[in-house]
């Protein structure tokens, strides 16, 4: 799938369930000291209701712990929601740990409160998508499905 058609797709059309994708596994993680878990828990339910398996890490995890979990659980996506403003250093560290563990085939999706001026830093750290604060359920699900369909099964 190319960028153009993916961009179209993420505007709201749900793709056909790709038979080769199978069950999607997502790690929903909270990094650092941010204690806001309302959004993460809502996303976990959304993904479960869309047929995905969600491993939830709980609060106050280090990038190291999150990557260890992602590798052991062989997830397709790590979703991190941050409202503390520390996203730049935390995603940078997460990206570094993923590369170190040779696990950068795993997609990283960011959510929460992330100002546009920080997007470039997140892209450099290996983040693959930034979900806007007011995104609808369908958009979140579609974004994940499209990323995995583009990458293919590992």
């Amino acid at each position: 799938m190319d960028k153009a058609s993916m961009a179209e797709q993420t505007s709201g059309d749900a793709p056909e369930q790709d038979a080769t994708i199978g069950t999607i596994r997502v790690l929903v993680a909270k990094l650092g000291l941010d204690g806001h878990d309302r959004g993460a828990k809502v996303v976990a339910r959304i993904l479960r209701d869309a047929g995905m398996e969600v491993v939830y890490t709980g609060l106050y995890k280090s990038p190291n712990e999150v990557v260890a979990a992602a590798v052991q659980e062989d997830v397709d996506v790590i979703g991190v929601s941050l409202l503390s403003g520390s996203h730049v250093p935390l995603f940078r560290e997460l990206g570094r740990c993923l590369r170190e563990e040779k696990a950068d085939h795993i997609f990283v999706v960011a959510g929460g409160v992330i100002p546009e001026q920080d997007y470039a830093a997140l892209w450099d750290s290996g983040v693959d998508a930034i979900v806007p604060q007011e995104a609808r359920a369908e958009l979140i699900v579609t974004t994940i499905r499209n990323l995995i369909a583009a990458r293919g099964r590992v």
């Binding site: 650092g32 000291l33 828990k41 939830y56 503390s84 250093p89 604060q133 007011e134």
Partner: protein
């Protein structure tokens, strides 16, 4: 005594029936109403019109008068006519000096009380040089590591003259100790210090999620703080029972009030269980509520909350002083209702929520900045927020009459209906074994997560409208060029340098000894930990060192798995 005579009510009922058959039927015939049913955000059904018949069952005594039991109509007899609510905007970021400057700016702009936000390491009992503090020092609030930092925070500010609210929870008792130490250093009369500590542990476990220790030790720390402060700093409110966060994490208005009252009951049982009389500390219990979108629901929420609290204090705890039964509340407008898209709309939302709190009755208020959904507010945003309160207070003449909506058929009915639902929830908590047990089991957390998901689904389905987001969406209006409050990269290094200097300059053997003694005291449930903590902060023990010492004794909290 009821408010209306039987014959008057009969008459109204007959006239309403006639109206329904005639004028109403005609109107419905030509155009049906937009929805089949109407209700408040928290699910209480709403009728199309209310009459005296709808409140005929409510005894007049349930209303009472302002400043008298059951306080439905207001905490004080003269309310805003005697003293307007305090404009208390919270601020905190970077090093103590940076926040100190912001305080001076806000006092100049018209703020009448101070309120402090702390950074995540401070909130969680970690020093700025702790590895877990990586990337977080001075970011969402001010960084405090030692008593000297508290001194810098309030440099040039006369704490005997201005009240200070400290938004701090698991490490509250340490920051209080530092505050007292600074006051003593400056030669203040401790009895003149006024302010509030948030310090409400149970709502942390279920909502704000700042924690260090397991539940019961945290409640014990609060008990010690309440009992110590009652004698040493009698004008400080040692706790701000926070419904705000219960709402923020997903709770509706009924859950906000019922759950915070359940926590209040648990704390009062803890303190009276330790031998203090209810009237010796209850007058200093203060509350913190949200002011949310459903305008009338929120106004009634405040009134219902005051009445429920008064009854709990009088009937359950047998308080005798009216001050023990009076609910005083600080309000913050609803940050979760603010949008990133078309963020100027947030000014209107905030103004309306602020008005609701004023009409509901509050003692102080923080209005959110229009950029609060995505940043620490800029000076500009804070100024507009302060102006919002000033306009409500000074331009629109809502402060001349106390509880102006009191007596409205609708308002009294809704207040009563909310009160009834709140009692039901409180009874359920009692039957299930009390708040502490249910917090440990994750019961509240599950209810709140369910509520949060239900709200999300309503917005997702378009049933709950968010202007600019799921209704009246303008693709052209992207999130504007928003000036984000800059993060001071040097902040961390400055704090670390200061920590190094403090540790080099103090009597380390004495600090170690004091911490050892504190840990010993913590093993017993009987000893109040405040005196030893004050000694420790004066000896320049750091926040992180003190909190870690007790973590050795009590262990760390592990959250239940609730999604």
């Amino acid at each position: 005594m009821n408010l209306f005579s039987e014959t008057a009510i009969e008459d109204i009922r007959e006239k309403q029936a006639a109206w329904e058959e005639k004028e109403l039927a005609a109107a419905l015939g030509s155009r049906p109403e937009e929805k089949p049913a109407y209700e408040t955000e928290c699910g209480i059904p709403l009728k199309r019109v209310y009459t005296a018949a709808d409140i005929a069952d409510i005894p007049a005594d349930e209303l009472g008068f302002p400043g008298a039991y059951p306080f439905t109509r207001g905490a004080y007899p003269t309310m805003y006519r005697g003293r307007p609510w305090t404009i208390r905007q919270v601020a905190g970021f970077g090093n103590p000096e940076a926040t100190n400057q912001r305080y001076k700016y806000m006092i100049q702009t018209g703020q009448t009380g101070l309120s402090t936000d702390f950074d995540l390491p401070t909130l969680l009992g970690l020093d700025s040089d702790d590895p877990r503090a990586f990337g977080e020092v001075g970011r969402v609030g001010v960084a405090i590591d030692t008593v000297d930092d508290v001194d810098r925070l309030f440099d040039g500010i006369d704490l005997e003259k201005i009240s200070v609210s400290l938004t701090i929870n698991p490490s509250a008792w340490v920051v209080y100790a530092m505050y007292v130490a600074v006051a003593e250093r400056r030669g203040y009369d401790l009895h003149k210090l006024a302010g509030t500590l948030q310090a409400d542990p149970l709502k942390e476990y279920v909502a704000q999620k700042e924690w260090i220790y397991p539940v019961r030790p945290a409640v014990r720390l609060l008990r010690d703080l309440i009992m110590y402060s009652a004698k040493a700093t009698p004008k400080i409110n040692p706790i701000s029972l926070s419904g705000y966060h219960l709402s923020d994490v997903g709770g509706n208005a009924l859950q906000e009030i019922a759950f915070i009252m359940a926590f209040t009951i648990a704390y009062c049982e803890e303190v009276t269980g330790a031998g203090m009389d209810i009237d010796d500390f209850a007058p200093r219990l203060s509350f913190f509520f949200i002011s949310h979108q459903d305008f009338f629901e929120q106004i009634c929420k405040f009134r219902a909350a005051r009445r429920v609290y008064a009854k709990i204090m009088a009937e359950r705890f047998k308080a005798r002083k009216p001050e023990s039964m009076r609910l005083r509340v600080h309000v913050q407008t609803a940050a979760m209702s603010l949008t990133k898209v078309e963020h100027h709309n947030n000014l209107m939302r905030t103004a309306i929520q602020a008005l609701g709190a004023v009409l509901g009755g509050c003692q102080s208020m923080h209005t959110n900045g229009l950029d609060e959904a995505f940043a620490i507010p800029t000076e500009e945003a804070m100024k507009l927020a302060i102006r919002t309160q000033q306009i409500i207070r000074d331009e629109i003449n809502v402060t001349s009459v106390i509880d102006p909506l009191g007596g409205s058929y609708f308002i009294e009915r809704l207040t009563r209906d909310m009160e009834i639902e709140i009692w039901k929830l409180l009874n359920e908590v009692d039957e299930r074994g009390g708040a502490v047990k249910l917090v440990e089991e994750g019961w509240f957390q599950q209810k709140l997560a369910d509520s949060a998901y239900a709200t999300f689904q309503k917005i997702d389905a378009g049933e709950k409208i968010s202007v600019g987001v799921n209704r009246y969406v303008d693709e052209a209006s992207s999130s504007a060029e928003v000036h984000i409050h800059p993060y001071d990269e040097q902040c961390t290094q400055l704090q670390i340098d200061r920590l190094i200097a403090v540790r080099a300059g103090r009597d380390n053997a004495r600090v170690r000894q004091l911490l050892k003694e504190l840990a010993e005291q913590a093993r017993s449930d009987e000893i109040n930990l405040l005196p030893k903590t004050i000694e420790a902060v004066k000896a320049k023990a750091t926040l992180g060192e003190i909190c870690a010492a007790l973590r050795e004794v009590w262990g760390a909290y592990a959250e239940p798995m609730i999604v």
